[in-house]
Structures are given as structure tokens and as C-alpha cells.
Symmetry: C2
Subunit: 375 residues, 2 copies
């Protein structure tokens, strides 16, 4: 069942619409478990053409959602998370393409997640939600495309968690993806990233308000979210970027010898912490999405990465950032090497002090190549 309606806050030319799909059947998961009642929330921008062949699927990262475009559609009336990229005349041109941005399975912004009602108890799942995987997310996207009546996409685009999903779609339904763009991603999760997610989950769970995941009828574990974001901030930027951005001198020029913030980097971390504490992220959703990333290894089921990607038939654009130390250029090269002959359009490596977040915060360096690739 598909319900679609115009987004109230949207400007007309963007044609932002909200869609909610309730699946007729339970969704089988890679683990063997089954999700009995599944719904998928998504936003669309632009217009689907008559041939139904101008759709572009954009897949969001760990802390984003379906509100990718629009000047005030993000949290607290801010622009959508990729408003620099999606809109009339922009690289992902909504005058030309019908852009679909689903909230990922487990994402807790309308799509079924640990925050959803568990039909067998009538209360939110919490930690009774089954472990989901990147393959499950890709399956949910295929179901969404069926519901929207789109047999083949013009393009599929994603960064980080979104990039892993593009890779899973290239493995499971390569005939549907169209051109694909994979940004700041790797084909499997490193031990270092698994360790990071374990630490971030422990930070969340340290908040007494988290209450074993059953916090929905009480206060939010906002301190845990703050600590998670503060810890994570140490990893989005490289050591060198932190050095160059914040320096080592005390903010006032001379040391005050205090436990209060006395260095610019401390003030930055405090603001990250405060913003996350007040933010809209769902703690259990982060726990399940990071756990899905832990299990991501595209070669595990297929045997080799080459075997997993053997069905890819349309051009692939790979984008990595030289300063992204957790998703290094060499691992993106590994994907380039594993693709079937002839499908690699280009592996574009960009410089940016922003590291892993560069595709969000310094889009101008990526924009021309992306725009050209999509045409």
C-alpha cells in the first residue's frame, strides 16, 4: 500500500512529496528472522517522467534521513542534509530527475525500526528488534521501487552507509541500479570501524535513561547521544585536520589552568555534544544501524568481491577523499579493481580537510563530476 502526499513546507518547483509504503507481506531478513509489519517512509523531489526512467535513488548516511533537499526541511528548519546537491539546476537536478530518498530500514524516521510498535507486544521493539544488515536495507529499497512502479533507476547514489547500500544493490539487483555513485565507502567494515561502533554503542548504553533500550515512555538518553557524538567527532576528522583547524594554543592566548574548556578543540567537542543531546536521533536506531555496518562484508556470501560485483552492467563512479583515514583511498581502489571490465567510469579522489564528511560539507569539489556523470 502506497500513500503519497505533497510536503507542506516545500517550495513548488522542488515538488517535495512524502511517501509511506506499507508492505503487504512480512520482510524476510538475512539473519533468518522475519519482520512482520514493515513500512518505508521516503521523500521524492521532481517529477517521474512517463517512461518512468528518470528516477535517481539517493541513500542517506548514518545520522541523516529522507529529508535530503529543501531549504528548511532538515532538523530545526535547516536545509535538507544534501540540499547543496539536490534541487532545480543542481548536480542532482530535480528539473530533470525524479529523486527518491528513503529513510533506511532501521532509521526511525518513519521507516520500520527499533522505535516501531512490535505487533506481538503492542509496544516499541527496543532491543527486541531483529539485527538487520545492509542486504536487508537493499531488499527494502527494491520493494520500495516496486511500489513506486520503477523497474530500473537512472542512477543510485550514496555516501558512507548510503554507499554500502549502493554496493549491496549492485550485488543483489544490478539490473535495476542504473548508473551508480559510491562515495566515501569500502566493500567491508574494518576491525577499526567495528571497534569504533562498539565504543559508540557503549557510550549510548552508559546513559541510565537508555534503560536497556526501553526509553520510549520516559526521558531520551540525551547524555548518551551527546557522548556518542563527541566520541565520534574524534573520528570524522583526521589528526592532521584537528591540528590545523584548532591549533594547540589556549583560546585566550594564555593558559587559565582550569577544568573549563580552555582550548578551541574542547569548545568544538562541547558544541557537538550539546547539539547531539538536543537532536532528533534515536539511540536504538543508531545501535541497529551501526550493528548492520559491523556485519557488512560484500565478499563474505559471494566468496570474492569480484563474484559479488559480477552482475554490474552500468557505469560506476567511485569517490574517495585523501584525508578520509577510516575509509581510505586504497580500499576504494579495491572496489575499482573488482568491478567487471568496462563499467568503471572513474575513481575520483578529492582533497578535503573535512575527511569523511567532505561529500556533505564541501560538495563543490564533487558537484561538476557528479552532474556530468548523471547526464
Amino acid at each position: 500500500m502506497l500513500r503519497s502526499e505533497p510536503e507542506k513546507r516545500s517550495d513548488g518547483r522542488l515538488n517535495a512529496r512524502a511517501h509511506l509504503i506499507r508492505l503487504a507481506d512480512p520482510l524476510p531478513l538475512q539473519s533468518g528472522a522475519v519482520l512482520p509489519e514493515v513500512q518505508i517512509a521516503c521523500q521524492s523531489y521532481g517529477h517521474l517522467n512517463e517512461a518512468r526512467d528518470n528516477a535517481v535513488l539517493v541513500l542517506h548516511g548514518l545520522t541523516s534521513d529522507q529529508h535530503a533537499a529543501g531549504a528548511s526541511s532538515g532538523p530545526a528548519g535547516k536545509p535538507g542534509w544534501w540540499d547543496v546537491a539536490i534541487g532545480p539546476g543542481k548536480a542532482i537536478d530535480t528539473d530533470r530527475y525524479f529523486v527518491i530518498v528513503p529513510n533506511v530500514l532501521g532509521g526511525a524516521c518513519g521507516t520500520t525500526s527499533p522505535a516501531s510498535r512490535n505487533p506481538s507486544t503492542g509496544r516499541p521493539y527496543g532491543l527486541r528488534f531483529p539485527v538487520i544488515t545492509l542486504a536487508d536495507m537493499a531488499r527494502a529499497h527494491a520493494v520500495l521501487l516496486d511500489a513506486l512502479g520503477i523497474a530500473k533507476l537512472h542512477a543510485t547514489i550514496g555516501g558512507c552507509l548510503g554507499g554500502f547500500q549502493v554496493l549491496e544493490m549492485l550485488a543483489s539487483c544490478p539490473a535495476r541500479t542504473g548508473k551508480s555513485v559510491i562515495i566515501s565507502a569500502t566493500a567491508r567494515t574494518s576491525a577499526h570501524n567495528t571497534a569504533l561502533w562498539a565504543v559508540l554503542r557503549a557510550a549510548l548504553m552508559s546513559d541510565p535513561n537508555w534503560r536497556g533500550g526501553d526509553y520510549y515512555d520516559g526521558p531520551s538518553p540525551s547524555d548518551g547521544l551527546g557522548l556518542l557524538a563527541m566520541t565520534g567527532a574524534l573520528f570524522w576528522m583526521s589528526r592532521e585536520t584537528l591540528e590545523n583547524k584548532f591549533g594547540v594554543a589556549p583560546m585566550s592566548g594564555v593558559p587559565r589552568y582550569t577544568m573549563e574548556p580552555d582550548f578551541a578543540v574542547e569548545q568544538f567537542l562541547n558544541s557537538v555534544k550539546g547539539n547531539a543531546s538536543k537532536g532528533r536521533l534515536d539511540a536504538n536506531s543508531l545501535i541497529y544501524l551501526t550493528r548492520a555496518i559491523d556485519y557488512f562484508d560484500l565478499a563474505r556470501d559471494a566468496g570474492t568481491l569480484e563474484q559479488a560485483l559480477k552482475g554490474v552492467q552500468d557505469p560506476v563512479l567511485l569517490v574517495s577523499y585523501a584525508s578520509d583515514w577510516r575509509y581510505p583511498v586504497e580500499e576504494m581502489d579495491r572496489i575499482a579493481q573488482a568491478l567487471p571490465t568496462g563499467v568503471l567510469h572513474r575513481h575520483l579522489t578529492l582533497d578535503s580537510a573535512m575527511g569523511h564528511g567532505a561529500f556533505l560539507y564541501e560538495f563543490e569539489s564533487l558537484s561538476p563530476a557528479l552532474s556530468e556523470f548523471l547526464r
Copy 2:
């Protein structure tokens, strides 16, 4: 006032002795504050010769204490933290040298710290303890040497936090240090390390049992200590070391799709967390020692590093590890360049997968060079 007594658990040849010095006068601090009642706890090993010129000062790191040598003098009856290095016939040979290992100012293992009684309230200081610095620690070491009647050391040795203290002594009392050995250290704290300490302190403080630092009459903030250690473990080893050590495959070969540990790196982090929760570390002590590191910048007061180190007159051995990404080889080179002409014995760069902890866990690669340098 100096009180010395033989260590009960020591074997005779090591001649381990415990010393406690109560300072006659208040200790003025770099911040301008004054510590009214100060005591310094230290261990010694070996015998001071008649000329009183065979003393070697060994300065411990962030999570160690004065119990450096002895087969069962560490926590839970384990060997002292540098028992591989200190003892009869070892690199720091107690048949030859009188080895002194003080508990650092703020270290809470007998030396005055936030866990000590605040004379003005009669209760533990907690966060009412003044902020201390590396220069204050160096000053406390000088007072200790006075109390022990040692005008000039044969050598001064330290790694990490201990290395910073050696550098401060080279700046404040270069005529007393003798030969110096600085391991895995830099001459100032990077923005990245300041950020890390801020995150680790926030992890500690997230524990409700921490109670604003006033936990001494209640349960220990053991969960906060566990979270701190788990987070810190992500930084002691490099990304590459974690990859090589733990790999990415699930422990049982196939994924179990569970929130329980399914990867070796998760099991490792859980054991780190569990050990720290049960351990003897004092939360407030870690808060003050890391804060002291934040303020460490040897060049700040002197103007330049060259100026700070201009009084160095005895040979200096610098040791860095190629995989120690937080205290990189290049920053140790910066120290080498700033030393007065002729005093640099050698900048030894070693390979070790252990990164920052290598001088503790892979001492054999350092042992011959250290032994030779001390003779």
C-alpha cells in the same frame, strides 16, 4: 620528613623499598595556586652508593604507579609495570643503579592527589583539587631528590606522561637529570590528544557514581572507568594494528547476527572494559593527569623549544615507534633538532605493532640500546 621502609613482598636482591616524604612547606603550583600539604610516595630498587651518584629516576605513565619492578608488586600480584626493564642484570640494572620510581603528583597511589584529604574541609579534594601541570610534577621530583639527598642523577627515564616529565626536568633542572631517556613523547600536546582526553574525561563523568567527583564515600565510578579504557583502547593501537591483530571475520567463522560480541575486536574491547572496571585507577586522578597533559607545551613559557632546552648538558636518548600515530616520529625529531649541539646521543626509531604501548609490551627491542646508553 622522609620515612623509608623495606617492601614486604620484595625479593632480597631487588631491595625494593617504599618511601614516603611529607613536604615541610606548601608546594607552589604553576597556576599560582598553592598545595598546602604534600606527600610523595615512591619505591626504590637497588642501593644508593656512597658517592650518591648512581641514582636513576624512572617516571611512570598515565595508568601506572610507583610499583615498577618486582615479580608480584603490580595490581593483583602481577609483575611491576616495567619489571622487564628494572631488576638485577636487566637494562636498568639494580645491581648497579639505585632506581627511584615516584608516584606522580596527582597520581593517587600515595602521592598527594584529588583523592587526598583537603586540609580545609577534612574530606577528599575531588574537583576542589587545583589544576596541576607537568612543570609542577617536575618540581615535586626535585623536592623528592632533595629529600633523598641526591644532587645529581645518573639518569632520568620516562615514556609518554613520564617522557613529558623528563622534558620538563630538562627545562627546569637540567644540571640534575644526568643522562636522559625520553620515550614515545612529544614536546607539546596535539589538538588531537587534547580532544581525546576531553572525550575520555566525559566518558568518566557520564557515570552517575562519579557524582561530580565526590564518590569516595560511595561506589566507585567503575562503569565510567570501563568506558574510558574501552574508548582509549581505540587510540593506543593504530588502525592497521587493529586490522592485523583482529581481522574482520566473525569469531565463529559465520555471522550470528546478534548484539552480543561476534567479532574478536569486540571481545578484546569488552575485556579491556571489564578489567578497567575492576581496576585500581582513581577517576579523579585520571581527570587531573590528563588535564595536566592538555596544558603541556614545553615551548610556551620559554618562547621556543630551543630556549626551553638550552640548559641540557648530558647525553639524551630519544626513542619513538613508527606505528605510534599519536606521538609521531616527526615530533620526536623536532625535539632532536631543538637540543643544544652535541647532547643528542641518538634518536632511535623502532618498529612495533603495539604502537604507543610498545616500550611496555615489547621491551626487548629497546633493551640493548637502553642498557648500553646507561653505562
